[in-house]
């Protein structure tokens, strides 16, 4: 079944009364039919029907077998890292989301979960970073915020030759445009607050895996640490996923036009978007994904243009997040990536002239006009 069909029909047929929309099971616990008998649901932390429909749904969309829903993307990431265990080493994309960087450098490092940050577009750098205790390679593709494209198939090969897991954060492209599990990844992570939810109205995280044993262990962590998504948010997320395809198409269409427009703007010195043919990741991305998504980063001529731009945009909101139907702009240098030390930020290109756009579903003429004014 095609993804649009799967998504639109998620949960349909689940309810015994025929309700097309899955009921919100706003309950803490479940009555046992008799002593030592169970309906399959005992306590909502361990399993909730609304959450289960969502968890099965993400597994299906990502071509996995097990899905898990968490109260935030960071909660999903923390659970996955903790499952890797005490004394493990990770290889990470160097321009990783700032929250993940903070988690590793300020909490997990004390449990001897250590990370080496490399340019994961360079396969040799990945191979060189492998140590005896390396448990996983964690990548984003395209990366956040520089939209660098990593070769998922080749990295999966390196990982498996070395008995290492490949974890992919698929937040930017979503299963609509890219299926990392099919390319060899072992675990896919989503900040579902972004495109999957799509309406800037919820915080949630999702994980999908193929392997039953990994799934069981992750479930043990989810249940024991109580890192669960509430029934109401699960329902909202299901509702969001139903329009994933049409949203992504429109957002991408807008993003292609805006990226081209930015490229020709005199105040803009550089545009990062994998959908531009002169982007170094353009061909690789086309090989492994069905589209480029709707995230664009761009560099302006001088740092002074940044506050002016942020002050003069009217339609576009200056806010930290992405993937929603409304267009948002972020200043990664202090917002999403503010936790990474300055030297590293600058060397990566996350400097004080960089802005990140999450393109929404507005009419592109209005978006261009808003930016035109703000950049003048």
């Amino acid at each position: 079944m095609e993804l649009d069909t799967l998504a639109a029909n998620m949960g349909v047929g689940y309810d015994c009364k025929g309700s097309i929309s899955v009921p919100i099971y706003q309950t803490a616990t479940f009555q046992h039919p008799a002593l030592n008998e169970s309906t399959g649901f005992d306590y909502s932390r361990s399993g909730n029907p609304t959450r289960l429909v969502l968890e099965k749904g993400i597994a299906a969309l990502e071509n996995g077998n097990i899905g898990l829903a968490y109260p935030s993307g960071m909660s999903a990431i923390t659970n996955v890292f903790m499952f890797l265990g005490y004394n493990s080493h990770l290889i990470m994309t160097e321009d990783i989301y700032g929250g993940t960087y903070r988690l590793l450098n300020e909490i997990l490092n004390q449990y001897h979960i250590e990370a080496t940050y490399v340019d994961t577009t360079n396969l040799q750098e990945i191979t060189n970073a492998i140590q005896e205790d390396t448990a996983a390679i964690f990548i984003e593709s395209p990366t956040n915020p520089l939209l660098k494209v990593c070769d998922l198939k080749a990295i999966a090969q390196i990982a498996h030759q070395n008995n290492i897991l490949l974890i992919v954060d698929n937040t930017f492209l979503t299963p609509y445009l890219q299926n990392p599990l099919q390319l060899g990844a072992d675990i896919v992570i989503h900040s579902a607050s972004k495109y999957l939810g799509g309406h800037n109205d919820l915080i949630a995280g999702l994980v999908a895996v193929k392997d039953q044993e990994i799934g069981d262990k992750l479930y043990f962590w989810q249940n024991s640490t109580g890192s669960i998504l509430s029934p109401h948010e699960s329902w909202l997320l299901l509702r969001g996923i139903k329009t994933l395809g049409i949203r992504m198409e429109k957002q991408q269409q807008n993003a292609v036009s805006l990226a081209r427009w930015l490229q020709n703007h005199p105040q803009v010195t550089r545009v990062y978007y994998p959908g531009l043919p002169d982007n170094p990741g353009y061909l690789l991305n086309l090989k492994q994904a069905r589209g480029y998504g709707a995230m664009i980063s761009f560099e302006v001529r001088t740092p002074e243009l940044i506050p002016r731009f942020l002050e003069h945009i009217e339609l576009i909101s200056f806010a930290e997040s992405l993937g929603g139907i409304e267009t948002l702009v972020t200043f990664p240098y202090t917002q999403t990536h503010g936790d990474i030390n300055e030297e590293t930020r600058n060397s990566l290109g996350i400097n004080n002239r960089l802005l990140r756009l999450s393109i929404g579903i507005e009419d592109q003429k209005d978006l261009i006009q808003d930016m035109e004014v703000a950049l003048s």
Binding site: L35, P71, M82, S227, E233, A319
Partner: protein
């Protein structure tokens, strides 16, 4: 201000913008920023959300603490708090602790290098004897789950202070309406707010409240980074539940007292565990540190067969895992709430096949007694 007034008037419940008496549900992920200088306004809902903040302010007032934090579940709260500790650290924990806490400590945190000794905290010498050079904290439940054992909170705090240990206490059974551990010197109080605070079996949520700025900033960091946050809708439901905390707790207690007395006289019942019963060795201490007994009773039947028969025949209480709700809930700890503890350790703790736990709901106590009577026959 009396407790019952304070529950309803913490100063946080009215929306300052519109005057709405029920605080709005901010179902949002992110917030528009006015400029590059963030002056402490809201940015992103994982870090802070107005509905969650309002709930956290209310909980702070109720526990008389410095700051409170809301999490996705009681276990998310407990796990986030345990992340305060590092590999090599050692914790002392009440022996008949909730099964989920036991599982997190032995199944997960042990793998991260945090060591735990489970001890009977009702005996102060027992605590002192088990303190090691690397002991960092004492974790208590009082009354404990499911045996309602009482730990002397003040005395434990004193001991902890002598050895420079952090004290953490799960206050789920009592709620701040009956017991305020921070006032007794505890550093961190924890709730499975799914239970009495929410009170309606309709949400999963947890909370922690601390007594100082230092702990508050460390837990704030963990809440944001670990990201196990409570959702806005659930925060709102919890605030709604808290509004009736007083009337519910009073009624739970009144009925529980009646049921405990009745069970105590029943010929099939061997032992009854309830804080105010004279045979509870901690009843005097409990009276000094709490304002009430709560609504949880555990009792031992003459045999495991009698226990199972009763559980199969009760009609009013729901046979389920949970407690603290408007409807009575009956639980078989050995296969339900505490089944994550290995059988030999469970037996050693006194959680055998003859033990039943009852969370007394708001039904008429006469109906509950009549139902238990027919189920015991």
């Amino acid at each position: 201000m009396k407790k019952s007034t304070k529950i309803l008037h913490t100063g946080n419940e009215v929306d300052p913008v519109t005057g709405a008496v029920s605080y709005p549900i901010y179902q949002v992920s992110t917030f528009h920023q006015d400029g590059l200088e963030n002056d402490g306004a809201y940015e992103y809902s994982r870090s802070a959300n107005p509905t969650r903040n309002t709930l956290e302010n209310i909980l702070t007032k109720l526990e008389n603490g410095y700051r409170a934090f809301a999490f996705a579940s009681g276990m998310a709260t407990i796990s986030s708090i345990f992340l305060l500790f590092s590999p090599g650290d050692h914790l002392l924990v009440t022996s008949d602790v909730y099964g989920g806490t036991y599982r997190a400590l032995t199944g997960l945190f042990q793998r991260l290098g945090i060591e735990t000794t489970f001890i009977d905290t009702t005996i102060p010498e027992n605590i002192e004897r088990n303190i090691k050079d690397n002991t960092r904290a004492i974790y208590l439940e009082s009354p404990s789950n499911p045996l309602l054992k009482i730990t002397n909170i003040r005395q434990t705090v004193q001991l902890a202070q002598t050895y420079n240990l952090l004290t953490i206490m799960d206050n789920t059974f009592m709620t701040p309406y009956f017991q305020r551990p921070l006032e007794l010197g505890i550093d961190i109080v924890i709730h499975s707010a799914t239970k009495y605070l929410g009170g309606h079996s309709d949400l999963i949520i947890g909370a922690a409240c601390v007594n100082c700025e230092n702990l508050a900033s460390r837990i704030k960091f963990l809440q944001n980074t670990f990201g196990a946050i409570a959702a806005p809708q659930d925060c709102w439901l919890l605030m709604r539940g808290i509004k009736t905390l007083k009337v519910r707790m009073e009624q739970h207690q009144e009925s529980a007292r009646a049921l405990a007395a009745w069970l105590n006289e029943h010929s099939y019942v061997n032992e009854v565990y309830y804080p105010s019963l004279i045979q509870n060795p901690g009843h005097q201490i409990h009276q000094e540190q709490a304002d009430g007994d709560g609504g949880i009773i555990s009792f031992r039947l003459q045999s495991s067969t009698k226990a199972r028969n009763m559980l199969e025949n009760v009609r009013i209480p729901v046979l389920a895992t949970s407690l603290g709700a408007v409807e009575s809930i009956i639980t078989y700890p050995c296969t339900m709430s505490h089944d994550s503890i290995p059988i030999d350790i469970r037996e050693q703790m006194g959680i055998g096949e003859d033990l039943v736990r009852l969370s007394v709901g708001l039904e008429a106590p006469e109906d509950l007694i009549a139902d238990l009577e027919q189920a015991l026959k």
